[in-house]
Subunit: 224 residues, 2 copies
């Protein structure tokens, strides 16, 4: 079997991504980050999800809050409610987060001899994050093959972003077809300790809308 | 004044790089990593060097040893002596290290509104590390401008690698002209607590040869 790294936050997208990689026949190494996020609920979800899919699971400790700069890690900033007309990059954006996460996934890939890295970003519902666009993923793949011993000597490191052209509804449909139990996942930017969601942030709004559009029952628990 | 990030290990190259950036008129933010390296001597050197150049200094805690995989961070591997004919990537290579360091520098740049990142890699004496080549630096710059809010909205993030085409001797000559005191720097892969060098590893061999070729007195203290 061929090894693959899957970035697993414990949310809806990354869980679908793991199910997808598993379905493609990869031996999956799930990688989560303890990065100073506001709540550990999603990390607990990630643990259960990795076990459910029989994937090896590594939680990497990395406090990106050492600089501050985002409402998702900085306790002094407020997570904004979703506003439909918002077209600029929101304050929930964490500086260079996907680049940092993919870089560490690349190191992990080299150590476990994996040439395939899966990341559950979507261009459609990317909420104006620059590091969720196809051209970004493509640029990272180019870099990965120049950057590493494995890329240079063996070639062909591939960054898979299977959800990149899917709407939230299409992602949910895909996961549903793959048998994903979305009750295990946590998407909310400010979930409580039980994993219940606020229902108001960007992430909750996209998720709610997705289930509605997919015509699949939304089993998310909301505390508001 | 314009802010710049300078990756500062406390070694000869990164110190020359800091002197160069300072000389170019940048307001310098030096960034060092406490990444589980074998000795902290170079971090202590970095602190003194940053202070000497009147740069702000941030030490980022990041244990890349969480995966293992390199003689520079894995205590179970032996640092090899320098062998002239060695053409493959050596075991002192740390998987994806420069990519991880540059990613974090990119986040730091975004937080302090810097568009310029300096890294002291050299293609000439790169010791077969893939992530010290010009095409790698170019690929990272492309990525940086796609990856970040700052790159997308403001444009023009630049990765400066002023030493990339310089030999060690030329780097030493440049630093010498800029008034760098190389007694402050530590290059050795296995320096002792006093900052004295082994004189035998790849890094020591390049440094020795560099001073010799530049015709500048080598004031490095060796313990062997």
């Amino acid at each position: 079997m061929t090894n693959a790294i899957i970035l697993l936050s414990g949310g809806l997208d990354s869980t679908t991504c793991l199910a997808y990689a598993k379905n493609q026949g990869f031996d999956c190494y799930a990688l989560s980050f303890d990065y100073g996020q506001r709540h550990k609920t999603e990390l607990n979800a990630a643990k259960k999800i990795a076990a459910h899919f029989n994937a090896k699971h590594h939680i990497f400790n990395l406090n990106i809050n050492q600089f501050g700069g985002s409402a998702l890690t900085d306790m002094n900033q407020t997570v904004p409610d979703y506003v439909e007309t918002n077209v600029s990059i929101p304050n929930t954006y964490v500086p260079a987060r996907n680049t940092i996460f993919l870089s560490i996934a690349l190191a992990f890939a080299e150590v476990v001899n994996a040439k395939d890295i899966f990341v559950g970003v979507s261009y459609v519902d990317y909420s104006h994050y620059p590091d969720c666009r196809p051209e970004y993923i493509h640029a990272f793949q180019t870099l990965a093959n120049l950057a590493t011993k494995y890329g240079v000597e063996e070639g062909g490191i591939k960054i898979h972003a299977p959800l990149i052209h899917l709407s939230k509804a299409q992602t949910i449909q895909l996961g549903h077809d793959l048998g994903v139990d979305y009750a295990m996942t946590v998407s909310c930017y400010q979930a409580n300790q039980q994993g219940d969601a606020c229902g108001k942030c960007d992430s909750c709004s996209f998720r709610k809308k997705g289930f509605l559009e997919a015509g699949i029952e939304d089993i998310t628990r909301y505390y508001l």
